[in-house]
Amino acid sequence: MSLVSSMFGCGVVMAASQAMGIGRRSDGGLTIVCSSRPQKKATAHHMKTRPRKTQAWDRNRKPTVYDPLPPLPPDWTLVIPADASSAPVTPPPPTPSA
């Protein structure tokens, strides 16, 4: 009889502990659920939603790199001055090389 009563006592203790455990778990879940999707406002919202490069193909994109241009000639050069052309009848025009 003492053995039976002791076994019964153990059963009671187990049941109580289980009930208490279930309650704690539910509390933790609710807390987590509530804090998982807060409604951020203004700056916090902007910080969360701004565009960011997350993909490899996007992070590797950079401005186009072109070959450097070769040295360009001047825009214009003087070939025959007005006084030279007016003074002689047929002035010999020089041939400028680009």
Partner: protein, 213 residues
């Protein structure tokens, strides 16, 4: 093939006219004037025996024409004959002056920014030729058409219309009135030269490159 034959016939015709013109010394003098003045009727004027009256700047232009013919004679090309006196039909060029790009045609005048150091009646050469085009072909520069030069004459050094800058703030005793006239230069395009040896692009090349045709 029909277009090719037509182009060949036109080239032969132009070459024939060029030979005829080169044989007679008098038309050489008259060519640049008529070409510069009336490009469309230049052939008629050259064919006619008339000799237009010339002045000093035009004489210099004829001198330029003489040198052009002299330079072209030792290098005759059967396929594409050099025709300094008469330009290819539809000839134009894209040049860069003062950071801006202009489409220029021989014989037309153009207003650009003030070219410092150039006086009226000066002959100038524009070197940044980005593209040269004709009716049948196109010379695309990378970035410029090497050895291509556009010759022009300075016609006038002028000013743009006045721009008024007016500033006013009420009740603050602030009022400004500034006038500004931007200086410009009017030039007349004489000729486009030196592009013949550059690799060209034609409609045939484009058609052959197109897929599915």
């Amino acid at each position: 093939m029909a277009t090719a034959t037509v182009s060949i016939s036109t080239l032969c015709a132009t070459f024939g006219t060029h030979c005829a013109i080169s044989h007679d010394p008098k038309p050489l003098f008259s060519q640049p004037f008529s070409l510069n003045r009336f490009p469309s009727t230049s052939y008629k004027l050259t064919l006619s025996p008339r000799s237009p009256i010339s002045t000093l700047p035009k004489v210099s232009e004829s001198a330029v024409a003489e040198t052009e013919t002299g330079s072209s004679e030792p290098e005759p090309d059967q396929i594409v004959p050099a025709q300094p006196p008469s330009w290819e039909p539809g000839l134009f060029a894209v040049v860069m002056i003062g950071g801006r790009q202009y489409i220029v045609h021989p014989g037309r005048h153009l207003t650009v920014q003030r070219l410092k150091g150039a006086n009226v009646n000066d002959k100038i050469a524009l070197h940044k030729v980005l593209l040269v085009g004709t009716d049948t072909s196109c010379y695309i520069g990378k970035p410029i058409v090497t050895n291509a030069v556009v010759y022009a004459t300075v016609e006038e050094q002028g000013l743009d219309p006045k721009v008024i800058v007016f500033k006013y703030k009420k009740k603050k005793h602030y009022r400004r009135n500034i006038g500004h006239r931007q200086p410009n230069t009017r030039i007349r395009i004489n000729s486009i030269m030196g592009y013949e040896n550059y690799p060209k692009v034609t409609m045939d090349d484009i058609k052959s490159d197109e897929p599915g045709s």
